[in-house]
């Protein structure tokens, strides 16, 4: 689909983010500080402040998104998850240790941990449903339907498949999970579609994965070979006096290795993002992304430095920078009749993200 046919059908709608780093550094800073004096309870409000700012700075077709979530909703959601799931879980594990020997305890504990892996998917789903329900564009909310448990079991099963295929099922799993999520998402009463468009299918998902997988393994062994032949390895043995030059060589030689693997992975990541974004349609609007390998690589490096040099409180600013790049590399082709879109009738959850918070898999956006 080229620009002309798009223009013929309607317009191209811009997605943009205009966040600047200052306010995000400030929110990150006071969140970390207040977390210290509130035993981390402030985190729910800090996260809410961050999202409110980020959403407002993000526009679709010139209209900003609005985040309507509240800190107290996250707080309550967290407590519900802790008391209904995490405390009974830890209690059961502890009881098993007290009451049974190693074999008996394992008999109770192993299935509980397996269940925990299913819960990770459930938590991702529920957090996402909360996100969408608290996101508005033009006064209309987004919504997520579908089964949280279905998503949890799918995540679990795909995780096992990815493991036994040494990661090779991973990209397919990611696409399947995205499809499961997006094909049950709504903007008001308008459903999202996840379609294997020719543009999406043209993305070299497995080519980039193969390069990343094989390339990383080869690069790693070449590096090991270089280290072994340079004599550094002998220095790392029992010898008490290790030559500092060799240590320097060891670490410095790891930099080009890390960079090379970073390039492989960034390429694959950019391909995956484009593959998923290009599959999305809502009404006659089709999403597209121009995100590239350098975007991912550059952001990975600069965001890591940002977090290190701010002693961690720059993590929100780092997430903003990623979001901003994703938004600014995205566009929507086609036309949409906003007058015809009605408010969502799907009931919004009262509180959110508790389980994700309980499982420590929370993301700020």
């Amino acid at each position: 689909m080229n620009e002309d046919t798009v223009a013929g059908q309607g317009e191209q709608m811009k997605v943009a983010n205009t966040s600047s780093i200052g306010p995000m550094l400030w929110i990150g800073f006071y969140t970390v500080l207040l977390n210290l004096v509130t035993l981390t309870i402030f985190r729910f409000w800090g996260r809410t402040h961050f999202r409110r700012r980020l959403w407002s700075d993000t526009s679709v077709g010139g209209e900003p998104l609005a985040y309507t979530g509240r800190g107290v909703e996250l707080f309550i959601g967290f407590f519900i998850a802790i008391f209904t799931l995490m405390i009974p879980f830890v209690g059961a594990v502890l009881a098993a240790q007290i009451l049974f020997g190693p074999a008996g305890a394992a008999f109770v504990i192993v299935p509980l941990y397996l269940a925990l892996f299913v819960l990770i998917g459930v938590a991702i789903f529920l957090a996402r449903r909360y996100h969408l329900s608290r996101t508005q564009l033009r006064g209309i909310r987004f919504a997520q339907t579908g089964s949280a448990w279905g998503y949890g079991f799918a995540t679990f099963g795909y995780g096992i498949l990815s493991g036994i295929t040494l990661g090779w099922f991973g990209p397919a799993a990611r696409i399947r999970l995205s499809r499961k999520m997006w094909s049950k998402a709504y903007f008001g009463n308008l459903p999202f579609q996840f379609e294997d468009t020719p543009e999406a299918l043209a993305e070299p998902v497995y080519k980039s994965f193969a390069v990343a997988w094989v390339g990383s393994v080869v690069a790693y062994f070449v590096w090991i070979g270089i280290i072994a032949s340079s004599g550094v390895a002998e220095g790392l043995g029992d010898s008490p006096a290790i030559d500092p030059k060799m240590i320097a060589f060891f670490y410095l030689s790891a930099i080009p290795l890390g960079l090379l693997i970073g390039i492989f992975i960034s390429w694959h990541e950019a391909v995956m993002i484009r593959r998923i974004v290009k599959s999305l349609r809502v009404g006659d609007l089709r999403a597209t992304s121009r995100i590239g390998m350098w975007d991912i690589l550059e952001l990975s490096i600069t965001n890591t430095l940002l977090i290190i040099f701010t002693l961690g409180f720059g993590y929100m600013a780092a997430q903003m920078r990623l979001w901003k790049r994703l938004a600014n590399r995205m566009a929507l082709d086609g036309a949409i009749d906003f007058d015809a879109i009605r408010q969502s009738e799907i009931e919004a959850p009262r509180q959110g993200e508790g389980l994700a918070d309980g499982l420590d898999i929370i993301s700020n956006f």
């Binding site: 509130t38 035993l39 981390t40 407002s56 190693p102």
Partner: protein
């Protein structure tokens, strides 16, 4: 309707995504919105302002909505916004929001204080009565299971059964005369750091490192075990378990965490539960001295054990040994047993001639060979 000037504005009604042109009047305590033929009145009390967008095209617009109302959003351009700023400065100065946050944070800090009190005062205070209320049979079962779990990580010494059999009568006698209250189940585990533990319910474990360190001083070895029996008698293992579980539960509730991380802490905690506080340590010393005297042994043996262990963890105090290896530094028994010098002194003060050694040379030869060959 008032006679004041109306401003053009834009409006999302929260029913459809259509943007509507409306006219608004900024009144003394409310905004009146004329949408087609109908009107809405939004009082300043219920209005919230959305964050200013960073978009240069719309950056001067302000967006307002009503608290707890679905979606309806009013977009005011600069002239109307300026009028609103005069009529309802509280929407712009951020005071209301700051005050709300200040109240919230004060509440949270107070809550954190209460939790802190629960952690540092409540849990330690509760662990004693909880332990006292726990049936011994439950404690023994717990100890057996903990011991079984620990010995899946720290392997017991192979072929140590004859050694344990030789040691058992000594332990039984100490426990009986000292009224320890639990049958003692003893094991050797393979670990180079010299250490001994008392788990709940009479489970006692000594490391191969301790046996090796004290292989020339059977009385000192017995004295260390007597010290562990002191912990058994005081139910220190059970108290420490309640203490750790209580701390873990509260921290889990407050900070979240996967439960997985919590679990690691718990499992590790079973080892670390053997870290008792100073009061518990000196009480166990006193019990040990008592047990040793009743068994006709010299309590100064405990002092010798302390000195040997101290020499192991901080060589250079009285010998010219090279730097200790890292694991010795980290796992040093003394790290959990502070103010050793004072304890050595106290043990020495109780010194008296021993009536007999509780272990014959033959038995000691069997005992010291417990971990030979499997010593790491």
């Amino acid at each position: 309707m008032s006679a004041t000037e109306g401003y053009p504005a834009q409006f999302f009604d929260g029913q459809t995504a259509a943007k509507q042109d409306v006219t608004v009047w900024i009144e003394a305590d409310a905004i009146v919105i004329e949408i087609g033929r109908s009107r809405e009145v939004w009082t300043y009390k219920e209005i919230i302002r959305l964050p200013q967008t960073g978009n240069p095209q719309t950056g001067d617009d302000i967006r307002i909505r009503r608290r707890r109302h679905k979606g309806a959003t009013l977009i005011l351009s600069a002239p109307a916004a300026a009028k609103l700023r005069l009529a309802a400065p509280e929407l712009f100065d951020g005071l209301r929001e700051r005050r709300r946050m200040a109240t919230l944070i004060t509440g949270m800090v107070a809550g954190a204080g209460l939790v802190g009190a629960a952690l540092f005062i409540g849990v330690p205070a509760a662990s004693g009565p909880l332990a006292a209320a726990t049936p011994k049979s439950f404690e023994m079962r717990m100890g057996e299971n903990f011991a079984a779990q620990i010995t899946t990580i720290f392997r017991p010494c192979k072929g140590a059964d004859p050694a344990i059999a030789s040691l058992q009568p000594v332990l039984n006698q100490l426990a009986e005369t000292g009224d320890v209250g639990y049958p003692i189940a003893f094991q050797f585990v393979r670990m180079s750091a010299p250490n001994a533990f008392a788990l709940p319910g009479g489970q006692v474990i000594a490391t191969s490192g301790l046996l090796k360190l004290l292989e020339d001083d059977p009385d000192a070895f017995v004295a260390v075990l007597a010290h562990e029996l002191g912990h058994v008698k005081a139910r220190d293992g059970l108290k420490a378990f309640y203490h750790n579980a209580g701390l873990g539960a509260i921290l889990e509730i407050i900070t979240g965490g996967s439960g997985v991380a919590q679990q690691v802490v718990m499992l590790g905690g079973q080892m670390r539960q053997m870290r008792y506080n100073r009061r518990q340590e000196s009480e166990a010393d006193a019990t040990a001295a008592d047990l040793l005297i009743k068994a006709g042994l010299d309590p100064a043996a405990l002092a010798r054990a302390f000195i040997a262990i101290q020499g192991f963890s901080s060589p250079g105090v009285d010998d010219n040994q090279a730097e200790p290896t890292l694991d010795k530094k980290v796992l040093g028994w003394l790290s959990s047993h502070p103010d050793t010098s004072a304890r050595i002194e106290i043990a020495r003060e109780k010194a008296r001639p021993a009536s007999a050694s509780p272990i014959s040379d033959e038995d000691w030869a069997v005992i010291t060979s417990a971990c030979k060959g499997s010593n790491d």
